[in-house]
């Protein structure tokens, strides 16, 4: 099953709409509640990153019987140093973003803690792609 979402630039009131929708879908598919929690948290953090840093983007979700894969893509500023960005507490969020309660610098760590696979590809000035995979069956973890 596929679901495609558009993530609007700078619109924090909608940040979380895509992950909320996916959550409803996963509940209806009777996915284990703890797995849903991990998937939704990882997706939510990635979605907020797109809103906060990039100029909007897209998210493509693929639900298979054994896994959920989410690919987020944006044409934002890109991440110059991915390793640094992964550090807990490190944030490049603007003042405006922080005022809204975001930008604590835990986003990527949160995704890593909840996903089974996390792949980040980025080019400064071009954009970023984030791929998240969560397995639905124990055997593959």
């Amino acid at each position: 099953m596929h679901f495609d979402y558009t993530i609007e630039a700078g619109d924090f009131s909608k940040a979380g709409d895509a992950s909320s929708h996916l959550k409803k879908v996963l509940k209806q598919l009777n996915v284990d509640p703890q797995l849903i929690k991990r998937i939704v948290i990882a997706f939510y953090e990635a979605e907020v990153n797109v809103v906060a840093h990039a100029n909007g983007g897209t998210a493509k979700c693929c639900i298979d019987l054994d896994r959920v894969s989410i690919e987020l893509a944006d044409s934002g500023p890109g991440i110059p140093d991915i390793e640094k960005a992964m550090q807990a507490g490190f944030s490049t969020a603007s003042a405006k973003v922080r005022e809204m309660g975001f930008g604590a610098g835990m986003g990527l760590q949160n995704i890593k803690n909840n996903a089974d696979h996390l792949t980040i590809k980025s080019e400064v000035g071009i954009g970023t792609t984030v791929e998240i995979i969560v397995y639905l069956t124990q055997a593959q973890q």
Binding site: G16, K24, V25, L29, I63
Partner: protein, 448 residues
């Protein structure tokens, strides 16, 4: 998964129901449909919040209590009375008068449910310290909320605090105290005066426990009528007793909004009214709000003061309870319940609460995907007006019902009109379809 049946205290009378659909449209878990002209309840989705009870214009929905005469089967007849019951009476009526009136109506003892609150609070403080990896912890107080979480937010069942609510602790205390005085357990009847349907459901089919200590339930409005009548007719007090409550301020206000949140240590939030709670739990499920320690969640607006079986306006009840004066406790007086602290503390835990998710389209994920695709396909043909003329509360609910084999797409009046135009549907068939949902009487203009 918990496979026991949920007992429901709410029943819809097929004789009284006029099939107006008001209840269906307010149900927060979409647990009601209209079929054959009457509202029917989907029991596995109902959480006993009572919104339907409030919405019904003809009082076709009742909250099933035990017959009042049942108390006569017991030698010791204890009335467990919540503070909000007392809050319903005007300030010139004393608590002693109310207690006396309750006894005059057949009980032998009157015990405030909140008697065990101070003990519970100290246990909750210990619990919070010992469980800091499961934050935010969610109070186990409101049974409608526990059921809501099981049905709609199954991932959060593990956040619920596994401690008995005051009602169960006080019931245990009452029984023990009477047994210690030499009364045989079979002679003790403990009756709870309930402000709502959810508390009844929790007693008849407990979540986290095998059975309840409560013998029976009396609806708060039933007792209020009896007591009020007695007080009105009996103008002088037979006994001149002083104001007789020893409840602490925390205990007195426990069942009001912020009653728990203000006393549990840490950063806490209190949310009341079921739609507010649903909105909030969506955010908690997404981990959108870090740093919260404890959540006090109540299904009713103004918490128990807004219980569906209260007669007095909930804001007045809240005002009276908040402003009541707690008598000063002298240092030497120990509340009788304190001597039972160890006994009660050992029995205060409840078992793990399991999810009972009703959001799923099927147990099997592949089947669920197939049904989801079918529902999505159906939804594309539907008008998205949520008019509920099909007998389901919304177009999305209707699409799911079709995918689950519980409804026919021709129940939708927009589909009917379009198909009548093209000749695919014959007007007689169309009318029969509508009658199967709404009953025949809605299709003739003369109603006596």
């Amino acid at each position: 998964m918990d496979n026991r049946q949920f007992h429901h205290a709410l029943t819809i009378s097929s004789e009284l129901c006029i099939g107006c659909s008001h209840c269906m449209n307010v149900c927060p878990t979409e647990a009601i449909r209209v079929r054959g002209g009457i509202a029917i309840l989907y029991e596995n989705r109902c959480v006993d919040c009572g919104e339907c009870f409030k919405a019904c214009p003809v009082h076709a929905i009742s909250i099933g209590q035990d017959d009042f005469s049942r108390i006569d089967s017991y030698k010791q007849r204890v009335a467990l009375v919540p503070e909000v019951f007392f809050g319903q009476f005007a300030r010139n009526i004393s608590r002693s008068q109310i207690k006396e009136a309750i006894i005059a109506n057949g009980f032998t003892d009157v015990v405030e449910v909140e008697t065990s609150v101070d003990l519970l609070l100290s246990q909750m403080k210990e619990y919070v310290k010992a469980n800091d990896s499961k934050l935010p912890l969610i109070s186990s107080f409101c049974p409608a909320i526990i059921r809501l979480i099981q049905v709609k937010f199954p991932a959060l069942t593990q956040n619920i605090m596994l401690l008995k609510p005051p009602l169960d602790i006080t019931a245990l205390y009452c029984r023990r105290r009477l047994v210690d005085k030499g009364i045989s357990p079979s002679e003790i009847g403990v009756f709870y005066i309930t402000p709502c349907a959810a508390k009844i459901a929790a007693i008849k089919s407990p979540v986290g426990e095998e059975y309840s200590m409560i013998t029976g339930v009396i609806n708060m409005d039933t007792l209020y009528n009896k007591v009020y009548k007695h007080i009105r007719n009996d103008r002088k007090l037979h006994y001149d007793k002083p104001e007789s409550t020893t409840l602490s301020e925390a205990a007195r206000c426990w069942t009001l909004t912020h009653g728990e949140a203000d006393h549990v240590p840490g950063r806490n939030l209190a949310v009341d009214e079921i739609h507010n709670v649903i909105e909030f739990l969506e955010k908690i499920e997404n981990d959108e709000i870090p740093g919260l320690d404890f959540l006090e969640l109540r299904a009713c607006d103004e918490s128990c003061a807004g219980g569906v079986l209260l007669t007095t306006n909930r804001f007045l009840v809240t005002e009276r309870l908040r402003k009541a004066i707690t008598p000063n406790k002298s240092e030497n007086t120990e509340a009788e319940i304190d001597s039972y602290s160890d006994y009660l503390a050992k029995r205060i835990a409840i078992q793990a609460i399991h999810p009972r998710s009703m959001m799923k389209l099927d147990e099997n994920m592949e089947e669920a995907m197939r049904k989801m695709d079918k529902a999505a396909q159906m939804l594309r043909c539907l008008p998205l007006t949520d008019c509920s003329a099909c007998g389901s509360p919304s177009c999305q609910a209707f699409a799911n019902d079709i995918a689950l084999g519980e409804a026919d797409i021709r129940q939708c009046i927009f589909i009917q009109k379009s198909r009548e135009q093209t000749g695919e549907l014959d007007p007689d068939e169309s009318l029969e379809m509508m009658k199967s949902v709404w009953g025949s009487s809605k299709f003739y203009s003369n109603r006596k």
